[in-house]
Symmetry: C2
Subunit: 104 residues, 2 copies
DNA sequence: ATATTATTTAAGTAATCACTTAAATAATAG
DNA sequence: CTATTATTTAAGTGATTACTTAAATAATAT
């Protein structure tokens, strides 16, 4: 039983991001996900475990199939962190904008 | 000479994120950054190198001081990736909302 | 029951990572 | 010129990572 995985770490791996991307169109059993990769079943299974520990996917079991679906709410943490830098590339404002431009 | 570092990887490390956060208030020489951590100078220097390879910081040299400043534009890649999931946590819409609720 | 299918868990490994101390580089100060 | 200060680069190490193959679990099909 592994402990809660850090969300930034979970998303740092390209294969794991691709897994999430695949799940954006809807839930899929593990086996269907594997087909998209040049990895073995256990390899994917371990990535899915990391995503699950980070809370980024949820599972539903139906018979021998384990359906995975994306749960993107933890991504909000990353989003919020990045938003602090958003003004830099958006407004291209300098120091003055830091206290003023709070409204959307 | 290390090759271009992946942006998601660069940002996955807490110390590196903290470095960027420290630089949000303005450029700082490496030595001043080190003070905020329980790490050695070379440790920080290596983290800064990763950030630089990822394009997240720029440097300016003045005498023996190396000033680092944040360059957040590469974060846009992460931001854009995450935005694809934004609707999930924002609208808390179910299946029906996927085609309809595009407007803010 | 037995075999098959879907998946996870276990165990092993090579590569990468985040640190350290020691040495190198480079600018300034005496 | 020498010593000091600021920083990087080199070299080494233990921990973590991303994979693999083999074994275990669990449901379905025969």
């Amino acid at each position: 039983m592994e402990v809660k995985t850090d969300i930034f770490h979970a998303v740092a791996d390209p294969h794991r991001r691709q897994l999430l991307d695949l799940l954006r169109t809807g839930e899929k059993p593990a086996g269907e996900l594997v087909e998209h990769f040049d990895l073995t079943f256990p390899g994917i299974s371990q990535h899915l475990k990391v995503l699950k520990n980070a809370g980024l996917v949820k599972t539903r079991r139906q018979g021998r199939y384990h359906y995975y679906r994306v749960n993107p709410s933890p991504l909000r943490d990353i989003h919020e962190w990045i938003t602090q830098y958003e003004q830099f590339w958006k407004g291209r404002l300098k120091k003055l904008g830091q206290h003023l431009g709070e409204a959307e």
